[in-house]
């Protein structure tokens, strides 16, 4: 008798999810990756660490986040939508879950400093926040273009005591910030942990970040059960690197729920990409015919990434999850719709998932289905940008 496959367990000993994942880093970083892997495995089976991780999330970051039934939205679109409210977590998105885990691990490894990459600044702010709390030094690498586009987030990190370094190489955006953080890590790996912001990078990052984010799915599963909703028909989340999606999928990986990841149409690594190796991992990437990595384009800086976490590449290849692309226009409409119907201004990233529900309700999502939406972050950071776009059209 063949067992059904178990999804979202630990990867292989070399960090593979099926054909994806692994560890593609300079030799100089291998010891740090190995040390991190060992430290994570040790910590993640230590009740003291797990307790502290949960209590910091609870007492500092505001977990658990609620599940909100979107009554007016559901009525209008004919499907029953529940939103997991990561927008209410401290610093405004799910990013805090991961950095709380990684900074506690940093301290446990005896390191005194973290570095991080950031695109729009959400992961940078979250890292700066968690570092401040533990008194860790923190340097954040951010594409120079992004430092201008997100000046307030730069200042926010500085207020929190972090140093922000503008990255002037390449496209001067997120993927270059990752490159630069990796380069810097080489020269400070002894006392510094690289606090990666999504389920990407070399093993153990994709696994570790998913584990730190899986609290989203575990909470949601319990909350829906407690409310009598049970397993939803569909679980949907936006996908940049894929950490919020991985976090919520983790609660339903081996249930009957359909799992849907929504990428930005201009950065849809699964739909438009091909297998490749970047930033330490083998995954799906958007690349030229010659294997050069292309720039992603999205209205939302957080989805402006040409790759996707390797576990998602595997979930796609195995058919367990579907990945779809949504364009900027639909995202703008979705942001406005949710704001006006429910009093929740979603992050542009999260609005991708909202837009997909609006597009597919009554079609790919049969009428009356229950849908769990991961509302990965709040839109306050995006209001100025949306204002500019909408004003520019008047």
């Amino acid at each position: 008798m063949s067992q059904p496959p178990v999804f979202m367990g630990a990867p292989s000993s070399t960090g593979r999810f099926g054909d994806f994942g692994g560890r593609f880093v300079p030799e100089a970083l291998m010891p740090a990756c190995l040390e991190l892997e060992a430290a994570f495995i040790d910590a993640w089976s230590d009740p003291v660490f797990i307790d502290e991780y949960h209590s910091v999330l609870h007492e500092f970051a505001g977990r658990s986040t609620p599940v909100t039934y979107l009554g007016r939205f559901s009525k209008l679109f004919g499907v029953e939508v529940y939103a997991k409210r990561e927008d209410l977590a401290h610093t405004g998105s799910h990013k805090i879950n991961n950095v709380v885990g990684q900074t506690l691990l940093t301290r446990r490894m005896g390191k005194t400093r973290v570095i991080a990459e950031t695109g729009a600044g959400q992961h940078g702010v979250a890292t700066a926040t968690a570092a401040a709390r533990l008194g860790l030094a923190c340097t954040v690498y951010m594409g120079e273009l992004d430092t201008h586009r997100q000046e307030l987030n730069v200042f926010r990190m500085e207020l929190l005591g972090s140093t922000v370094v503008p990255v002037t190489s390449g496209s001067k955006t997120l993927k270059d910030a990752v490159n630069e953080a990796m380069r810097e890590w080489v020269s400070c790996v002894e006392d510094t942990h690289y606090c990666l912001g999504s389920v990407m990078g070399p093993h153990p990052f994709p696994w570790m970040v998913r584990e730190f984010q899986s609290i989203i799915g575990r909470e949601a599963e319990e909350q829906l059960t407690a409310r009598g909703v049970g397993v939803p028909d569909v679980v949907v989340a936006c996908v940049g690197g894929g950490s919020n999606a991985a976090g919520i999928f983790a609660g339903f990986a081996n249930s009957s729920a359909r799992l849907v990841g929504v990428e930005a149409a201009g950065g849809a690594a699964v739909s438009n990409g091909s297998p490749g190796v970047l930033h330490g991992m083998k995954s799906m990437l958007i690349q030229s015919e010659h294997g050069q990595i292309e720039e992603a384009h999205s209205i939302s800086a957080g989805l402006d990434y040409p790759g996707i976490g390797p576990e998602h590449a595997f979930l796609a290849a195995s058919g367990r999850a579907e990945y779809v692309g949504i364009g900027d226009e639909d995202v703008l409409v979705a942001l406005q719709t949710l704001s006006q119907l429910e009093g929740i201004i979603p992050a542009l990233e999260s609005a991708h998932a909202v837009a997909w529900i609006m597009q597919e309700a009554g079609k790919a999502i049969p009428r009356g289905s229950t849908v769990l939406l991961n509302l990965s972050g709040r839109g306050d950071k995006d209001v100025a940008q949306v204002l500019d776009i909408l004003r520019g059209r008047e």
């Binding site: 692994g22 100089a28 990595i293």
Partner: protein, 256 residues
């Protein structure tokens, strides 16, 4: 044993320290003339960088060179065609990131390189653990797979890497990407660690930017790799003749 290693071991037997300059392929239209000039100036082998969009192990100088080269339309095929058409008179070792070969197809890439006269490859983001397929492809085409070791490498890894590397072992003198640090740093310790388990030739790179540093580094190792310092001169307008002078100055220092 791959041909490259045979050659480089013979070089060591001859008592000569190896001088290996790095060039970014396609950075200027006459880049192969720079390579030829370097060989004239005393280079024993040449590293040929294939530009990649996301050079994670490289500092600003080589990043810049890669951007220029990519903007000029450089591809694996264009480089191979140029190499095949030139007779450069020294072993050629390509250096680039794994995605390019992965995308090209591993066997197809190694075959194409071999046909173009390349005898070794350095892929800095390809770890030993992930290298099996690539090494198999290289084996079919007599291409040596060269691994790096670093100051952070653990004893157990030193042993495995020194055993696995072919042609030579690339010893990073410093914990840094290319072009960011100066001087021999931990070179002695790293070279010793390699030698503790293997007699493969061991060259020091990362941080070698002057003839003096090269001389110091070769006192304890079998050769040096000169990268960013050289690329920098080309980016700022050096001619092939300048390159020859540049390399010759390193040669003299090493041979002293």
């Amino acid at each position: 044993m791959k041909s490259l290693e045979v050659t480089l071991r013979a070089l060591r037997e001859s008592g000569r320290k190896a001088l290996v300059p790095y060039f970014m392929a396609g950075v200027t239209p006459n880049w192969t003339q720079h390579v030829a000039a370097a060989v004239h100036g005393g280079a024993d082998a040449v590293e040929v960088g294939i530009p990649f969009s996301d050079p994670m192990m490289d500092g600003v100088i080589i990043q810049k060179a890669a951007e220029l080269s990519l903007a000029a339309g450089t591809t694996i095929d264009s480089i191979c065609a140029e190499l095949a058409a030139s007779d450069l008179g020294a072993p050629l070792i390509v250096m680039t990131y794994y995605n390019l070969f992965h995308h090209y197809g591993l066997r197809r890439a190694s075959g194409r390189l071999a046909q173009s006269g390349v005898s070794g490859a350095i892929v800095p983001d390809l770890t030993l653990e992930e290298s099996e397929e690539w090494r198999a492809a290289c084996d079919e085409n007599d291409i040596a797979t060269i691994f790096l070791v670093a100051p952070s490498t653990t004893p157990e890894r030193f042993a495995r890497l020194a055993r696995a590397t072919e042609g030579f072992c690339y010893a990073s003198a410093r914990m840094a990407v290319t072009g960011r640090a100066q001087g021999a740093g931990d070179a002695t310790r790293v070279v010793d660690a390699v030698r503790a388990t293997s007699d493969v030739p061991t060259y020091v790179g990362i941080g070698i930017s002057s003839p003096e540093q090269a001389r110091d580094a070769t006192e304890h190792s079998d050769g040096v790799i000169v990268g960013s310092a050289l690329v920098d001169t080309i980016l700022t307008g050096a001619s092939p003749a300048d390159t020859e002078v540049f390399i010759a100055s390193f040669r003299r220092a090493i041979d002293k």
